[in-house]
């Protein structure tokens, strides 16, 4: 790529001029030469050693992948694939010396992905002999160069270390991916590459020098450089204060939008991230950029500290639900080449989550956890609708494309808002009296293969609860949000709801819906709860602007503020016990009165094509006012039914 520096000849060349301009304008230093220059390698090695000595949470090498690429001790030998444990048994190298880097990259378009070097059943033996570097893709060659510069002998690359056409090997290894990245010495991330055939060590950005003369201090004359970084789409531009080189490099990359990359990015304790502008060393504490900038990285940029907190057991059940829901919500909107990978691509992270919290694998059901479903709030997620009622119902009917049942977020490739019942707008816990409004719930899923956290072929919730059928409900827009609707029956307001299909703003009749109450709270306690606010459709982003859609918190590069606050609070609170503010002003005894009227949270169902089975199509809140609340369901008998 030609670097456009033709304008250089027009501006002063003295370094002191540029320094004076840089100081006056407060602009950043340029990057320090080639990424793998001696100075940069020394910088990386120093930070890596410091992090290992002072921040290390997971000892590098305490888990070893089944296969690794051995680059040799001196860089003079040809890379080859090794069966790690077999080589250790044969004393080819001692286990304690096996420190490996892992590569995280985009395979790219199908035409690129299919032509990249990979291991298949018929090539496994030859890979064990040698992997010719000439056959490696550009991304792999750059990763090898990084390892050699940093003297890291072993490298893990998914396309080479997993036998791609061996289904059982693929399933077993994809389940291990969480551990593979979590225990790597360093993860080499390649957001500068859009494809496996595009290297990341030379980003080739165009630059141009721009002259400058101060009109305030006229002696300040010189120039600075502007450098093209990339394209940022949509309306969610970062505030200038968040535009660090790292954030920009991530936002303009397709790497960070890929579903498979998510668990690699979130579980790696130490990353070297090669962006379009420069590289960045990222751990759970710091982000050090190639130009010397140091930023405190967000606590959840990697999930290392979240998992630390989970392992300490300082989260209550709903906070564990919150932690998982935030992870899943961030993941759900990412891009997958194969929609059927929606559960497998996060299975490594789910497995690590289960191990951290102490949940057994049979409690993981289609992207959710049974204990949180049994509490009711696990079903109260909501998301912005993007398709019509007919389109959504047609998707539900296409059994051959089954990915997940309708009751889980994994049914659709879209970010969602989880339901937190006992938390306020800031994520702080609140004391309210809540009560389950169903009697029984049994959840079953059928695995598609060996991976307990992977694909499923079916999923059913069998419930005993009170269903209320409505021949027709009128939905009208009462709020700034375009997807929360007020629900009327015969002129009486009965609830507020968010449906999974698009409902027009100006009032629309919806037939055949059923409301299923899941949880109730004392009347008047709901305002102030996070979930209440979301269901009411209030959104700070759209105050006074009724014509724009509310976009759920879907920034794929930062964790939600709610989780950040919760994690930080838990990590920094010695006892884990907190003074929880009570927003419930009733007496405790009131909550136990079966007949007392109460506010209700629940889900909206629609009959499937099979009798006694329903699809989840939304979430509702009904306030205990004149025609709403628990009174709506008081005369309904409990019945058994399935949600699929």
């Amino acid at each position: 790529m030609v670097r456009n520096h033709q304008a250089k000849g027009r501006v002063p060349q003295c370094s002191s001029c540029a320094e004076v301009v840089a100081s006056w304008l407060g602009i950043d230093e340029s990057t320090r030469g080639e990424p793998l220059s001696g100075q940069n390698v020394a910088l990386v090695e120093k930070h890596l050693q410091y992090c290992l000595a002072n921040h290390a949470v997971y000892r590098a090498g305490s888990f070893l992948p089944k296969r690794l690429i051995d680059l040799g001790r001196d860089g003079a030998t040809h890379p080859r694939l090794v069966l790690t444990h077999q080589e250790i048994e044969n004393q080819a190298f001692p286990a304690e010396t096996v420190l490996y880097a892992a590569l995280s990259y985009c395979w790219g378009p199908p035409a690129d992905a299919v032509t990249q070097l990979k291991t298949e059943v018929h090539t496994l033996d030859s890979r064990l002999q040698e992997i010719p570097e000439a056959e490696m893709s550009a991304v792999m060659r750059d990763a090898v160069a990084v390892c050699r510069a940093l003297k890291i002998r072993f490298l893990w690359i998914d396309s080479v270390c997993i036998v791609q056409d061996d289904r059982s090997d693929w399933e077993a290894e994809s389940q291990q991916m969480g551990s593979i990245y979590r225990h790597s010495l360093l993860t080499i991330c390649a957001p500068a590459s859009h494809s496996c055939h595009q290297g990341f060590l030379d980003s080739g950005n165009d630059k141009i020098d721009v002259p400058f003369q101060s009109r305030i201090e006229t002696s300040i004359v010189g120039s600075y450089t502007i450098e093209g970084q990339g394209l940022e789409s949509g309306m969610s531009m970062l505030h200038p204060n968040n535009r660090s080189p790292y954030n920009i490099d991530i936002r303009v990359s397709s790497w960070a939008t890929r579903g498979w990359v998510f668990q690699e990015r979130k579980l790696s304790p130490r990353k070297i991230v090669f962006g379009r502008s420069m590289f960045h060393l990222v751990c759970a504490h710091e982000c050090i950029s190639q130009n010397g900038l140091v930023l405190r990285s967000p606590v959840t940029e990697t999930l290392v500290r979240v998992f630390q907190a989970l392992e300490l057991g300082i989260f209550n059940d709903e906070e564990v639900h919150m932690a998982w829901a935030e992870i899943a919500s961030e993941y759900a909107g990412l891009t997958l080449g194969q929609p059927l990978d929606r559960l497998p691509a996060i299975s490594g992270l789910a497995k690590v989550f289960a191990e951290s919290v102490g949940l057994s694998e049979d409690l993981y059901v289609a992207g959710l956890w049974k204990p949180h479903l049994l509490k009711g709030y696990g079903l109260l997620w909501q998301r912005e609708a993007v398709c019509s009622r007919q389109e959504l119902l047609n998707q539900f009917r296409r059994a051959q494309n089954f990915i997940a049942p309708t009751w889980t977020w994994a049914n659709q490739a879209k970010s969602f808002k989880p339901g937190y019942l006992h938390y306020d707008l800031t994520g702080s816990p609140t004391r309210i009296h809540s009560r389950a409004e169903f009697r029984k719930m049994d959840i079953q899923t059928a695995r598609a293969g060996l991976n307990a956290f992977g694909s499923i072929t079916s999923g059913t919730i069998r419930m005993t609860g009170r269903l209320k059928t409505y021949a027709s409900l009128r939905m009208s827009n009462q709020y700034s949000s375009t997807h929360a609707r007020r629900v009327f029956e015969g002129g009486n307001r009965i609830a507020d709801c968010v449906l999974d299909w698009v409902v027009h703003r100006d009032g629309e009749e919806q037939g055949g819906l059923l409301l299923l109450p899941l949880l109730s709270t004392c009347p008047g306690a709901a305002p102030g709860l996070l979930i209440y606010d979301e269901l009411k459709g209030y959104d700070m982003l759209v105050q006074g602007d009724n014509d724009r859609q509310v976009v759920p918190s879907s920034d794929p590069y930062t964790f939600s503020a709610t989780m950040d606050i919760t994690v930080l609070r838990r990590i920094t609170t010695d006892s884990g016990q907190e003074d929880i503010e009570s927003i419930c002003r009733c007496s405790t005894a009131y909550a136990d009165q079966e007949q007392a009227d109460r506010d209700v949270f629940g889900i909206v169902l629609y009959p499937s094509d099979t009798s006694g089975q329903y699809w989840r199509v939304g979430v509702f809140f009904s306030e205990a006012l004149e025609t709403g609340g628990l009174a709506l369901f008081r005369d309904m008998p409990y019945q058994e039914f399935d949600i699929v």
Binding site: E29, I216, G222, E232, H239, P240, I248, V294
Partner: protein, 197 residues
């Protein structure tokens, strides 16, 4: 996260037959080389109006000088908090050929060449059907944001931690592209000291 929207919009610029809008102070701007150039420079092969607008106008944007704790002169704004956008310029052009930028490029303007290539390299024109053209409004603005609180080459040491209002600086030049029937896009350019300094 609050979305940041620049104060430059297509409504603020009249759609001029002559293409690039003119900003008054730039019409007789003294460049770094001591030359005085005019808005007619495009035709003469020197800097065009866009190039002039990219020269950051510290005074025109309300800046003032103050000494840092180290004694260096630094540019400040009042109120001091970072996170502001300084509109630069805006104009209408047409994809895929970008004739306004092309005219300026042919006139010798290297920055227009740079900006044109930045747009085409991002592939926005590939969203069009063959033979289709679409008018877009292109605007540029500088972003004054928070810089790193400290810089270091040593692991996790804090050699310098100046007071809060000394943390801001010129961070990015952003080019936004708006078309009536397509999504809003922006191209980010980082601003940094010249290579080799």
């Amino acid at each position: 996260m609050t979305p940041h929207h620049p104060s430059v919009t297509s409504n603020q610029f009249l759609k001029a037959e002559t293409g690039l809008p003119k900003l008054n102070f730039l019409q007789t701007y003294t460049t770094a080389m001591g030359q005085t150039v005019s808005a007619q420079a495009t035709k003469s092969g020197a800097l065009c109006a866009t190039c002039h607008s990219l020269l950051f106008d510290d005074k025109g944007n309300g800046g003032f000088a103050e000494r840092s704790v180290k004694g260096d002169l630094q540019l400040f704004f009042n109120p001091p908090e970072a996170g502001r956008a300084f509109p630069v310029t805006g104009w209408y052009d047409t994809l895929p050929d970008l004739p306004v930028l092309e005219r300026s490029t042919l006139g010798g303007c290297q920055i227009c060449r740079f900006l044109k290539r930045a747009i085409l390299d991002r592939g926005l024109h590939r969203q069009l059907s063959v033979g289709e053209t679409t008018e877009i409004f292109i605007s540029l603005f500088y972003e004054w944001g928070v810089r790193s609180p400290y810089q270091t080459t040593e692991p996790f040491t804090i050699p310098h931690f100046p007071e809060d209002n000394h943390h801001s600086g010129l961070c990015f030049l952003t080019m936004t592209l708006e078309a009536s029937d397509r999504a809003f896009e922006s191209i980010i350019f980082s601003v940094h000291s010249r290579d080799g300094t």
